[in-house]
């Protein structure tokens, strides 16, 4: 991304200098010597016009393709990236590791490991912005947005909230601590939490009574969840969606809007009973019930 940035800077300086120099040159060479001076009539030259339409257009197409290719590569995280769950709340960041560690406004990650952030917000639109990693993505209430980065140098980097979110928007900052793998393992051990996210998800799963309907053998009133995460689901009106985080979240909060063909819509909505973090824990638990890609637990 930086090469594109410096190329654009060069381009800007070149054209600005070109225009300024031409203007100064014309101003000095053709300054008005006497009031009665009549400059020759302007002759219009079509080829000149065509050229300064074509050249900027070509440059623009080239810039667009370069920028778009970088963006498309950055939009899809690699397989098996380390998963971190982020919940933005008015003026603080909650970060959860799959192993259960929970941090506020701080994130400890190992170096040279692709990290994928799954983010949602509990109130207004925030924005997870780490200038050092050239990365920014809005965090929306009611939806999951995800982005990924791979730290290359250990150190502590700024974390900002880039989308205006109210009074202490400028206080909603933090740091990303990139550590060598050994320090990271040591850090994990230092504040190992009692339960991993999947385990706390399982505890929630039983406490809320989900397991009365979603039985492993399929005899319950709800669909089997084992090994279902990520697979295709066909609704009653023929739409088929992938059972990803967003689908699971909508199924928990708003089951009536996802009618399944051979199940009666009896599932109650859990809106208001589960917080965003608990939903993430439930999703981690459902993922851990076997899916194509096991969450990486180092």
């Amino acid at each position: 991304m930086d090469h594109l940035y410096f190329f654009l800077t060069g381009l800007t300086l070149f054209f600005t200098f070109l225009i300024f120099a031409t203007i100064f040159y014309f101003m000095i060479k053709y300054r008005r010597r006497s009031e009665q001076e009549r400059p020759p009539a302007t002759q219009q030259s079509l080829p000149l016009e065509i050229s300064w339409i074509a050249i900027p257009s070509l440059i623009c197409v080239f810039l667009f393709l370069w920028g778009a290719s970088l963006f498309f590569a950055a939009a899809r995280p690699p397989q098996g990236a380390m998963e971190i769950f982020v919940v933005g709340k008015q003026w603080m960041w909650h970060l959860q590791h799959p192993e259960g560690q929970r941090e506020i406004n701080q994130l400890h990650i190992p170096v040279d490991v692709p990290v994928r952030l799954t983010m949602t917000s509990e109130d207004v639109i925030h924005d997870f912005f780490v200038p050092a990693f050239r990365m920014k993505m809005d965090v929306l209430p009611g939806r999951y947005t995800s982005e990924w980065f791979q730290a290359t140098k250990p150190g502590s980097y700024h974390l900002f909230c880039a989308q205006y979110c109210g009074t202490l928007h400028s206080g909603m900052t933090g740091t990303i601590e990139v550590m060598t793998p050994t320090d990271y393992a040591q850090w994990l051990r230092d504040n190992a939490s009692t339960r991993s996210m999947a385990e706390s998800g399982q505890e929630l799963f039983t406490r809320l009574g989900c397991d009365t309907c979603h039985l492993a053998d399929g005899s319950g009133a709800g669909p089997v969840l084992q090994g279902r995460f990520g697979k295709q689901v066909t609704l009653r009106d023929g739409q088929n969606l992938a059972m990803d985080e967003a689908y699971t979240r909508q199924a928990i909060l708003d089951p009536a809007s996802l009618p399944l063909p051979n199940y009666r819509p009896v599932m109650p909505t859990f809106r208001g009973q589960v917080s965003e973090e608990q939903i993430l824990q439930l999703i981690a638990y459902i993922k851990s019930l076997g899916s194509g890609e096991r969450t990486q637990v180092p």
Partner: protein, 99 residues
């Protein structure tokens, strides 16, 4: 712009057709055409709009300028709707990773 004035006859005829189309819209609603219900209803609405527009609003008799403004209005309306829909419906195309 529209020197030529439509006769009363045209107004009455157009009004009758409009009433017929209105009845048609509600009538068709009671027949199960599956997804075509909406398509047909909107098509009839478009025909009614053209009738009102062309005859009652004298677009049929007026010069190009008013017509260009109407087309511009529809084009900008379509512009907003199409680009916003392009965003909303293509959000899930980018497959988040995983299985």
């Amino acid at each position: 712009m529209n020197t030529q004035d439509p006769s009363v006859g045209t107004y009455v005829f157009v009004f009758a057709v409009l009433l017929l189309l209105a009845a048609l819209t509600t009538g068709i609603a009671y027949i199960n055409l599956g997804p075509f219900n909406t398509v047909v209803a909107l098509a009839i609405a478009a025909v009614k709009m053209c009738l009102v527009g062309l005859f009652f609003m004298h677009l049929w008799y007026s010069r190009g300028l008013a017509r260009i403004v109407v087309l511009a209005g529809f084009f900008w309306l379509a512009l907003m709707v199409s680009f916003t829909l392009a965003d909303v419906f293509s959000r899930s195309w980018i497959k988040p990773p995983g299985p």
